[in-house]
């Protein structure tokens, strides 16, 4: 197993700021926008984006929720491992709101597909966008593309993109791991 650094801590920070600015460009004061971090790994990215928007760009009171898609996945009983659920925390309705899904890596697109179904349990959003730190090109199973992407990566199937966060893994970095 070998691993290569895709993004260093400094690069991650620059990208997070760019993504935050791109969100402001489209959503201005976020009064009608809801950020949704996809559990488990999108949670960290979503919290970071919210923090940058609030402290650096003084956008007040951003609504942030976390959505767990375990029970909506299309591979239940198809993979050998049990799909273990995480906490969903959406204390508001998304009816007629602009929803931004936030996840760390976009790969096959199946998680996003499940999230699109899952979010309907909380109302009918007026539109849904997707923000992702890493976009693994050419590996999509479904016609799903990000609206905001941090970095595009070409990785083959036996490679894995590993996103680490300071608060959880001790550093901010992105690695390409070859099994």
């Amino acid at each position: 197993m070998s691993q290569k650094v895709l993004l260093t801590s400094k690069e991650v920070h620059i990208i997070l700021h760019r993504l935050a600015c791109q969100l402001i460009e489209n959503h201005l004061d976020f009064s009608n926008t809801i950020l949704i971090g996809l559990q488990p790994r999108g949670k960290f990215l979503a919290e970071r984006i919210k923090q940058i928007l609030e402290t650096e760009y003084k956008v007040p009171a951003i609504q942030l929720g976390f959505l767990d898609i375990t029970f909506f996945r299309d591979d239940f009983r198809k993979s050998d491992k049990l799909l273990e659920a995480n906490k969903t925390q959406i204390d508001f309705l998304v009816e007629d709101k602009k929803v931004v899904f936030i996840d760390d890596v976009l790969y096959t697109g199946r998680s996003i597909n499940a999230a699109l179904t899952a979010i309907q349990s909380f109302g009918r959003p007026s539109e849904v966008e997707l923000l992702t730190l890493i976009d693994r090109r050419f590996s999509r199973h479904l016609p799903i593309q990000p609206d905001y992407r941090g970095r595009q990566v070409d990785a083959i199937n036996n490679e894995k993109v590993l996103v680490k966060w300071l608060e959880n893994d001790g550093e901010d970095a992105v690695y390409l791991v070859t099994k």
């Binding site: 909506f72 049990l82 995480n86 909380f122």
Partner: protein, 309 residues
């Protein structure tokens, strides 16, 4: 990755503390799901479940059906009263006939202890025991513990007294196993005639005085007087039972602490507990019913994930 240690839920005795923890962690998420505007997830859309009830049930049957539907499973239900069982068909034949219609899981209630275990040995489907005679009722015990955990933070170290007809109660036996496995202390309280011989061998203490039992406990689980199972007189009159083992508001108020009152239902109002106790702040009877759906969703979800396609 964690998974259940069993392929069937026959009784609490057959599962482990880790299984209970996993069921509760999963049930936490399902409880959130059933409080959403749209209370349904598509996980089990390719799973078919048969509910076979050879004995009457309202709550358990509704709760299981609702849990299955909230998981998007296809559900068929039958009660023995309207079935070919009356024509003399054996249990295995009945169930195998249902299974040949491509059913993946069977939820069964039966009046014979061991019926669910017998079935799990003889048919190819995942079996969930919804009560077998006076043996076990595992999902009830799980939802009772889940409710205690929700109310008091943890089951471990808590003192629980089970009051009433211990002799005929599958709820009591499953609860004793489940509570002890999680590190709770259990006492049973009731008339001597309704106390099984050698109950102490399960590691529970017997207390014949209700007031003393209530003063000792954090939670009192009041069992129903099962008139339909009382073939001979176990106590002189219902009135005498109520005077000795019925919980009243006055009795609760005279204790030096606030205890939690549970009841598996259906309640005989004015027998085991009075109406004002059943409807009081201390009663979690309706929480038990709500949690029943979440816990049963978790059990079915976790067992279904073990059915190979």
């Amino acid at each position: 990755m964690k998974e259940l240690s069993v392929n069937h839920l026959i009784g609490i005795k057959h599962i482990t503390k880790q299984d209970i923890d996993l069921i509760f962690e999963t049930a936490d998420q399902f409880k959130e799901v059933i409080n959403r505007p749209i209370k349904k997830v598509p996980s089990l859309r390719d799973v078919t479940i048969a509910n076979i009830f050879f004995e009457n049930s309202t709550r358990t049957k509704l709760s299981f059906e609702l849990a299955q539907k909230r998981l998007s499973a296809d559900v068929i239900s039958f009660s023995a009263a309207q079935s070919s069982v009356k024509k003399g068909e054996t249990l295995i034949d009945t169930v195998n006939n249902i299974l040949s219609m491509k059913v993946d899981m069977v939820v069964m209630r039966h009046s014979s202890p061991g019926a669910a275990h017998f079935l799990s040995q003889n048919v190819k489907a995942s079996i969930v025991n919804a009560g077998d005679g006076a043996h076990e009722h595992p999902t009830q015990a799980l939802l009772d513990s889940f409710t205690i955990r929700e109310k008091l933070g943890d089951v471990g170290g808590k003192k629980i007294v089970i009051v009433g007809d211990i002799l005929h109660s599958r709820v009591a036996l499953s609860n004793i196993f489940a509570l002890q496995m999680q590190g709770a202390e259990v006492k049973v309280c009731g008339p001597k005639t309704l106390m099984p011989k050698h109950i102490e061998s399960l590691g529970v203490k017997v207390e014949s005085n209700l007031r003393k039992a209530l003063e000792w406990c954090d939670v009192a689980n009041m069992l129903r007087v099962q008139n339909e199972r009382l073939d001979v007189s176990y106590f002189p009159t219902t009135r005498e039972y109520t005077q000795q083992y019925g919980v009243t508001k006055e009795l609760l108020d005279s204790l030096n602490k606030e205890i939690v009152i549970m009841h598996p239902g259906p309640i005989n109002r004015g027998v085991e507990i009075t109406s004002d106790v059943a409807d009081s702040q201390q009663s979690v009877i309706l929480d038990q019913v709500e949690n029943g759906v979440a816990v049963r969703m978790a059990v079915i979800y976790l067992l279904a994930s073990k059915i190979k396609q």
